[in-house]
Structure formats: C-alpha cells, structure tokens
C-alpha cells in the first residue's frame, strides 16, 4: 500500500447528484462527496445497481442521456497546481483533459476494444490524438512497451481483439489507460467474469504499477473481500448514497454502517471456522428484498 500525503488532494467530489431522466426518474447518485489523494487507491463497493458506474461516469463527464448530473462539483487538482473544474470543460478542452489526466478502464473491458481494429492501432490512436507530432514508429514502440508493462507479448500489437483471451484484453485496456501516464485511473470492475486465478494476477499487477508510478486509482467492484486486500480506502455505496468512507482496515475491523456490516458478514470465511453456517439451516437468515 502506497504512502501518500493526506493533504495532497487530487480529486474533490462534492455533492454530486445524478438522475436518469426516464419515465420513472432514477436518482442514481445522491449527494456523493469524497476526496481522493494523490497516489491513493480507493475502492468503491456496493451491490449491483447502486450507482457505482454512474458515479464514475459523471466524474469523467461520460454520462450519456438520459443520465444527467444535476448538481455538485468535481474538481481536479492538477500536478501543475491548476484546479480544473471538470464539469465546466467542453469540446477540445475536455478531449485534451481526457485520458491525458484521467483515464478509465471500463466495466466489461471485454467489449471496450473495437472488434475490427488491431489493438496496436487502438493503442496508437491515443498517441495520435494527444501527441500529434509523434511518428508512427515511435507510437508503435511505445505501444509495445505498454504491452510489456502489463505482461503481454508486444508481438500481439498486430492482433485483433478477438484473437486475445479475456484476460489479455483486460490487460490491453489497462495498458491503454497507462499510455499517457495520467494522474488518475478509474477502474470499473476490471476483473469480473474472469477466473479467480487470472483475476488475482491482474489485480496484483495494477497494485504494483500504482506503487511504481504513483497515480491514483478509483477501483470499482462489488467484491468487497478483494477490495479489502488491495485498497487504501474504501467507499461503500447503497442505493445511490455513500454510506461509508474509511480506510480499508477500519472498514474491516470496525464497520460503522449496518449495510457494510452485513456485507462483511455475508461471505463465509475460507479458512475460518466452519461454524453453524449454511448447511444446518441455523446460519444467517438473510432475506432479500
């Protein structure tokens, strides 16, 4: 776990409210506020549909209709000392900000690559847009280097996404997120639907990279056990509301909110006591709504 200065804030999120303006409007995120420090890895946990992705999208201004950020502010404190109000960005300024300062690994990274374009080209596109002067050879060289970082054979630059396994595609996406060495990377469930073994590998890699390069990460998943192991702080959401935000250890040992407590007690321990769990019918009486 990285050490970071508690006062060196990278991202300030204040009172963000998101509504999906459909027939029955969904208030997907309500009054979300948190601070993310430089070099911090923050976990965002919560059950499916609680608004995790929505929050991530509204931070990066990627929310599409009918979603709408109704209020709140998202300030990005750049390395240069400049404070960028992300919600006010538009057009070219927004495009320049994206990926250069803040990149994202999407939920279902499986589908994040255009299926008919070679991955080398898709990696190169980032450089083409953000470093217009760069030569093709250099772009390819950098892309190859990126693949090396995530332990993918650089020869695979000329492969199409479908020629890679799910795990490899995920790594390519992570490599792409690293391309411009941004200060913030948002990872939205980058490992769901993967084999536990592969999952573990990728997560370890992310943690390593983060330690080496010092960028901040928002790591979204509903797999609380995993978050506990890898993150510095954890934010727990329920029904669009942030119910708890604390360091991982604190959350594990002294969870405050009943929902967090329930989450923690829901997973049977792998190595702990077998107890009266499940089989004999005297376990937790969890009724679902």
């Amino acid at each position: 776990m990285a050490n970071f200065d508690p006062n060196d804030v990278l991202l300030t999120v204040r009172d963000v409210d998101v509504v999906y303006d459909t027939a029955k409007p969904v208030h997907a995120v309500q009054h979300a506020s948190f601070d993310l420090r430089r070099g911090e890895m923050m976990g965002l946990a919560g059950e499916s549909g609680c608004g995790k992705s929505t929050l991530a999208y509204s931070i990066t201004q990627l929310l599409k209709a009918p979603g709408k950020v109704q209020s709140g502010e998202v300030i990005f404190h750049d390395k240069s000392g400049e404070d960028i109000d992300i919600r006010a960005l538009e057009g070219k300024a927004l495009r320049d900000f994206r990926w250069d300062k803040c990149s994202m690994v999407f939920q279902g990274a499986m589908n994040s690559l255009s299926p008919v374009t070679k991955i080398g080209k898709q990696l190169g596109d980032v450089y083409k847009t953000h470093c217009p002067g760069m030569k093709k050879a250099e772009r390819m060289e950098r892309a190859a280097h990126l693949l090396e970082i995530v332990h993918v054979d650089p020869n695979r630059l000329s492969a199409y996404p479908f020629e890679l396994s799910g795990g490899m595609r995920q790594r390519v996406m992570i490599a792409m997120a690293l391309a411009l060495e941004p200060q913030l990377i948002i990872m939205d469930e980058p490992t769901t639907a993967l084999d536990v073994v592969v999952q573990r590998e990728i997560i370890q890699q992310i943690a390593e990279l983060q330690r080496d390069r010092g960028f901040s990460v928002i790591f979204i998943t509903h797999d609380l056990p995993m978050l506990l192991e890898i993150t510095d702080t954890i934010t727990v959401m329920k029904d669009g509301v942030i119910v708890e935000h604390d360091t991982s250890a604190n959350i594990f040992h002294h969870a405050q909110h009943p929902y967090t407590q329930k989450l923690l007690s829901s997973f049977p321990s792998l190595t702990g006591d077998r107890g009266k769990f499940l089989r004999d019918g005297h376990g937790l009486d969890v009724t679902e709504a």
Partner: protein, 321 residues
C-alpha cells in the same frame, strides 16, 4: 424491510392474473411519432380498400366520357374508356392489399419453416434448409419471377401470390435462422427441454413468441416487397390483369398513355397509393425495429426525454422573462 416488501407485494397482488396480452404488449413498439404515422397511413389505406368499393360506382362501367379530368361526378376523373378512377383505385387498393398480405403471410410461414424448424432440428436438415435458403437468396429474384411468371399460362391472383411468395421468403429465413440458432442454445430453451417439453411445444411456445417482433418486421417488409413486386410484374405486362391491383391500374394508365395525354389523375394516384402503403408499413417496421433492438428503443426514449426537457427549459426561460 420484510414488511415493506410485503406491502408492495400485496398491493401488486391485487392485480390478478395478467393475460398473454401483457407480454405481447411489451413486444409491441412503443408509441412514437413514426408508429403513429405508420398506423394512421395504414389505417387510411385499409379504410380505402375496405370501404371505398362500397360507395363508388362500378369500376368496370364504361361511359362515353373517356379521359375526363376530375369533376363532381368523377372525383378522380375517368380512364380512357370512361371508367371511374376513384372506383378503380378502391378496388385496386383492395386487390394489392390482398396480394401483399397473402404473400406476407405465406412468406413468413415459409421462412419460419425453413429458418426456425430446420435450425431447431439441426443436423443435416439444418444444413439442407440453410443451403436452400442461401441459394434462393443469391438467385436474382425479379428475373426469376419474370421467367416463372412468363411460364404460367393463366395468371390469377392466386398464381401471382404463389410466384411472388416463392421468391420472397429466403431473406427472412436467414434472419430467423440466425435468431433461432442463438436461441436454440439459450438456457431457457434447454430448461424447457429438460422439463420434458415436446419439440413442437418448445418451438411454438418457447421460441416463436420471442421471434414475434422479428417476424412482424419481416412481415411488413414482405408486404411492401410483394406490392412493389406485383406492380413491377404488372408493369411489364406479366401480372394478372384480370384482377384490379395498383400495378395493373398503373399498367393500363401507362398503356393508355396517361402521362402523355396529361391524365395525371389516372397515373399518379395508384403510384402514390403504393408509396403511401409502403411508407406506412415501413414506418411501422421502423418502430418494430426499436423493439428488436433495445438500444434503439432506449435511444428513442432518451431523445424524447431530452427534447421534452429542452422544451420545458425553454418555456421556463420564456416565462422567466
């Protein structure tokens, strides 16, 4: 928590068994401008086809005022032999609709047979059916239709319908095949199989209902295609000129030199009617597309909402001033 759920549940439990219509309703396109436009156009054409012949004169009745312009007596003028164009338009629309609908129905049955049944059975049946389908698909349709049409000595409507149907089903079958192929392996189909359902029940009850929107869309395409196909055949003199249809009407108008003689009232209405009918069906198809393709559906909803919001905002701004 449990209590809350219970109250909600009790509330909804008051709504008793919901009928099959509910599911069908969900499959139906949502109300949109396009659907409304399509349905109104189609309704209008259907009204014309059903009721116009009841009120107009005998479309065959000749009179000595050939090629007269629209007037009080003949609202759409007369043909060369003094027949009432409006009356003919009514009967022709009916004729075309009958041809179009019949071909649509037959084609959908054929494509279901070749696309769904073959695929579900699998094995060599599937191979054979898909081969037939693909061959029918690459063989050029209109030339084939013409050759077949020329071969048939006496063309009644039924014959024409048969000819048009033969060349109309393959495209649909291919789409249905792809759909069925993906559905064949779906868990709920396997689950029905495991539960012990007979194959025909699996097809009819589990698979077909989910193909309804696709089939509806194909049906509309089939109808439009048949109406256009019939008019093309008639235009080159290979249609069934015994019966009134928009195609034969155009054919007579063209042979009677309607355009050259300035008789627009004879030449324009049948063509416009075909276009109208086609457009109506296409609009409906457009809306069905939104059902098949959930992304389109969501988009539409979003678009509408955004527009509404914008309108509201504007109104608010105006009021503010």
């Amino acid at each position: 928590m449990t209590n809350a759920t219970a109250t909600i549940a009790t509330k909804s439990s008051k709504s008793p068994k919901r009928s099959k219509f509910d599911a069908i309703k969900r499959m139906l396109p949502q109300r949109s401008a396009r659907l409304t436009a399509g349905l109104s156009i189609l309704g209008l054409v259907a009204l014309i086809a059903i009721f116009l012949p009841m009120f107009t004169q005998d479309p065959n009745a000749i009179s000595n005022i050939g090629l007269s312009a629209p007037s009080g007596e003949h609202l759409l003028g007369t043909t060369k032999s003094g027949q009432d164009v409006l009356a003919q338009l009514g009967y022709s629309t009916r004729g075309s609709l009958i041809i179009g609908l019949s071909v649509g129905v037959i084609a959908i049955i054929l494509s279901t047979f070749f696309g769904v049944l073959g695929t579900y059975i699998g094995g060599w049946v599937d191979e054979l059916f898909s081969l037939i389908t693909n061959v029918m698909l690459v063989i050029p349709g209109l030339p084939l239709t013409i050759v077949i049409a020329a071969m048939i000595p006496q063309k009644g409507t039924a014959m024409l319908i048969a000819v048009l149907s033969v060349t109309a089903w393959a495209g649909g079958a291919r789409v249905l095949r792809a759909q069925t192929l993906s559905m064949r392996g779906r868990d709920y189909v396997l689950a029905a199989k495991i539960a012990g359902e007979r194959p025909w029940r699996v097809i009819c009850v589990e698979i077909l209902p989910n193909l309804l929107p696709v089939m509806a869309s194909q049906f509309t395409f089939g109808v439009v295609g048949a109406i256009l196909g019939e008019s093309s055949l008639s235009f080159i003199g290979l249609g069934s000129s015994n019966q009134y249809s928009l195609g034969t009407m155009l054919f007579y108008a063209q042979n009677g030199s309607a355009l050259n003689a300035g008789a627009w009232w004879w030449f324009l209405p049948p063509g416009l009617m075909i276009a109208l009918l086609g457009a109506g069906l296409s609009f409906i198809n457009f809306s069905i597309d939104e059902v098949i393709n959930p992304r389109l559906r969501d988009m539409r909803k979003a678009e509408k909402d955004i527009k509404e919001a914008a309108r509201k905002a504007k109104r608010a701004a105006r009021n503010g001033k």
